[in-house]
């Protein structure tokens, strides 16, 4: 099947097998390898990307389902290679990662949450990140980072 996806603003077109998963399209056709394959069963959320602005687990979406649509990965967040997106900055400042494997997915799930709810409560943050597993941090610093990113975005 012929698939054309706008990935981080650039159009990527390829003829791929019908069964190609979006995460493999992103890694192998768009050559963006920050998006990880973790559990491969839609449980862990390491492969979370935004599809038309909504977070999806890209190991459980066909590339064909994304045809003609827009994908954003963690590489597409910052405005330049020297900068970090506010959510990335908050993750670093709050030590919200240890091994870092879950981080691209965590960051994308956070971006998706804050786009819908600019001022989430701690409970809303924990609910929003339910689909993203981290085996290192115990989540406390991740939640703290999300709340910090949210308050940084608020004016005043």
């Amino acid at each position: 099947v012929k698939v054309t996806v706008t990935v981080n603003g650039s159009q990527v077109a390829a003829e791929v097998a019908d069964r190609t998963l979006l995460v493999h399209f992103i890694r192998e056709q768009a050559h963006l390898t920050a998006t990880n394959v973790g559990c491969d069963t839609s449980s862990c959320g390491a492969c979370t990307v935004l599809l038309d602005g909504q977070s999806v687990k890209s190991c459980t979406v066909l590339a064909a389902q994304a045809d003609g649509r827009t994908v954003q990965t963690v590489e597409g967040l910052a405005s330049s290679p020297d900068e970090l997106h506010p959510v990335q900055r908050a993750f670093r400042a709050e030590h919200a990662l240890q091994c870092g494997f879950c981080t691209p997915g965590m960051v994308m799930a956070t971006v998706s949450l804050l786009a819908e709810n600019a001022d989430p409560t701690e409970e809303e943050v924990r609910t929003a990140l339910e689909g993203n597993l981290c085996r290192c941090t115990g989540y406390h610093n991740i939640v703290r980072a999300v709340l910090a990113a949210a308050s940084e975005r608020r004016p005043g």
């Binding site: 099947v1 097998a17 839609s42």
Partner: protein
């Protein structure tokens, strides 16, 4: 892990989806989001030969109060429910009692 080979078809209308399903018969399955079906296909617990993608049929995504009952479209996602609104168990029960 990737699913066994299949043929991907995309429906652009409900009529087209039904037509593709009729032609595909038992070998075809509908693909909505895929977060249940695709993991089953990776494990070979489901091995459809044809997948009919109905994910773009936005007319199947709605929550509508029809007075006597609430209608939920087949493509309505859990996330689509009105913000802050929990399912209405009292109303659901009333419907079930009839």
């Amino acid at each position: 892990v990737i699913p066994a080979p299949f043929t991907y078809q995309r429906a652009w209308s409900v009529d087209e989806a039904l037509d593709l399903a009729t032609r595909g018969g038992d070998d075809a399955k509908f693909l909505a989001g895929g977060h249940s079906l695709l993991p089953l296909m990776k494990l070979r617990l489901a091995v459809p030969e044809i997948l009919i993608d109905i994910g773009r049929l936005r007319e199947l995504s709605y929550i509508r109060d029809d007075g006597s009952h609430i209608a939920v479209g087949a493509l309505t996602s859990h996330h689509d429910r009105p913000a802050g609104q929990r399912p209405a168990p009292a109303r659901a029960r009333r419907r079930a009692d009839r």
